[in-house]
């Protein structure tokens, strides 16, 4: 598989190494070349400096038609934008964006992007360790087939303002 990873932080670098070891074609992007110090000397993929929300940069990095794009920078919104550029402009097969705000994570799954939410994952991990049950939210929320193409109208939103966890639960049940 061809895998593009945006953001070479701890998670991005670990994923890059894992896919590289698994024999996949890996491209990692980061705005800072220092971030690439996290990669081991054995890393055989490409490390490219650039802004992963910029369509031209992604194109030059060979993201067009890639199998997977993982957006794992520190900024939720940068990740969202990067994943949407990948899906809408570059015909990438699957895009996963790290979004730490649970409300946004659930909302974007409805807009066709798979999301992973550290807030939910860590909460669940702690609750499980302490035998207190789970939040009921999946750690990776699969995208709901979306219908927003070119103003075809808003996707129905299950829950109104300010009810974050409920939204995610509704999402979890549906996916």
């Amino acid at each position: 598989m061809k895998i593009v990873i945006v953001g070479c932080g701890r998670v991005g670098a670990a994923l890059a190494e894992a896919f590289d070891n698994g024999g996949h074609e890996v491209v990692v992007l980061d705005t800072s070349t220092r971030a690439f110090d996290r990669l081991s000397e054995e890393f055989k993929g490409q490390a490219i400096r650039g802004d992963g929300t910029d369509e031209d940069v992604l194109r030059k990095a060979g993201a067009e038609g890639a199998d997977v794009l993982l957006a794992f920078t520190e900024g939720d919104n940068r990740n969202v934008m990067s994943a949407q550029v990948a899906m809408e402009k570059l015909a990438v097969g699957k895009a996963i964006a790290k979004i730490n705000d649970p409300v946004r994570a659930a909302a974007y799954a409805e807009l066709g992007i798979a999301t992973v939410c550290r807030t939910t994952m860590q909460t669940d991990a702690v609750l499980a360790y302490l035998d207190l049950g789970k939040t009921g939210m999946p750690s990776v929320i699969a995208p709901v087939p979306h219908v927003h193409e070119d103003g075809a109208g808003p996707v129905a939103s299950p829950v109104a303002a300010g009810a974050g966890p409920a939204t995610a639960e509704a999402q979890a049940r549906r996916s």
Binding site: T53, Q84, D150, G162
Partner: protein
């Protein structure tokens, strides 16, 4: 009208101020507490001192009853997310995003933002109008990726001495007026074009290359092939 403005920088501040003065109901979201407090001192208690990208706070600010959400922070990705959350999660009928990188304009429209404000594009437009280059000038960007474009015909333009009927004009595009000696007239299919004419066209951005060939001449790129 209830307008929710996100981003209390210069643009957000003056936008909020003007809207209040014209009698609209406005709430401004600004995540920097010191800046938020300063705006409260000047404009009154209409500020929610939180991050408008955060779903929870966007809800608390009343986005589900807003007629318009205007995302005018300095970061394009934040403005995109604010508009998408407003539109899809809170059913706001009209969203406006400030875009700093002109390359993001098309993407944002494609992703459902209703209106784009692009300070960079506006400045670029004014500068281009002052420089007599042999290029197409972008006069205005309309909805649906349509643009109004002006081409000033030079002596070497392939269109000089011909009529619009003789030209190959892209399908989704139309030439609609000509400015000659400062006088604008509708462009008829039998108008013979002259050197110095300014031809005004409306069309999709992707017609540009063909318009360029027909009105200005083949591009350098094309010539090199």
């Amino acid at each position: 009208m209830f307008v929710l403005v996100v981003g209390g920088g210069k643009v957000g501040y003056y936008l909020t101020k003007e809207l209040i003065e014209s009698g609209h109901e406005v709430v401004l979201m600004e995540k920097d507490r010191a800046r938020a407090a300063q705006i409260v001192d000047e404009l009154g208690s209409i500020v929610v001192p939180h991050d408008g990208c955060e779903g929870k706070y966007l809800g608390q600010a009343g986005s589900n009853r807003a007629d318009i959400v205007a995302a005018v922070t300095g970061d394009d990705e934040d403005n995109l997310v604010i508009c998408q959350m407003a539109k899809h999660h809170f059913d706001v009928p009209r969203t406006i995003a400030r875009v700093n990188n002109p390359k993001n304009e098309d993407l944002f429209r494609h992703l459902g933002v209703d209106e784009i404000i692009s300070p960079t594009r506006m400045a670029l437009g004014s500068i281009e109008q002052d420089i007599p280059v042999h290029e197409l000038l972008h006069l205005a960007a309309l909805d649906n990726e349509l643009e109004i474009i002006e081409a000033q015909l030079q002596a070497d333009s392939p269109a000089v001495g011909r009529t619009p009927a003789d030209l190959v004009i892209p399908e989704a595009c139309s030439l609609f007026a000509v400015v000659r000696n400062g006088v604008a007239t509708p462009l008829r299919s039998d108008t013979v074009l002259q050197e110095g004419d300014k031809v005004i066209a409306i069309g999709r951005a992707d017609c540009e290359r063909m318009l360029h060939e027909q009105l200005i001449g083949a591009t350098e790129e094309a010539g090199a092939v």
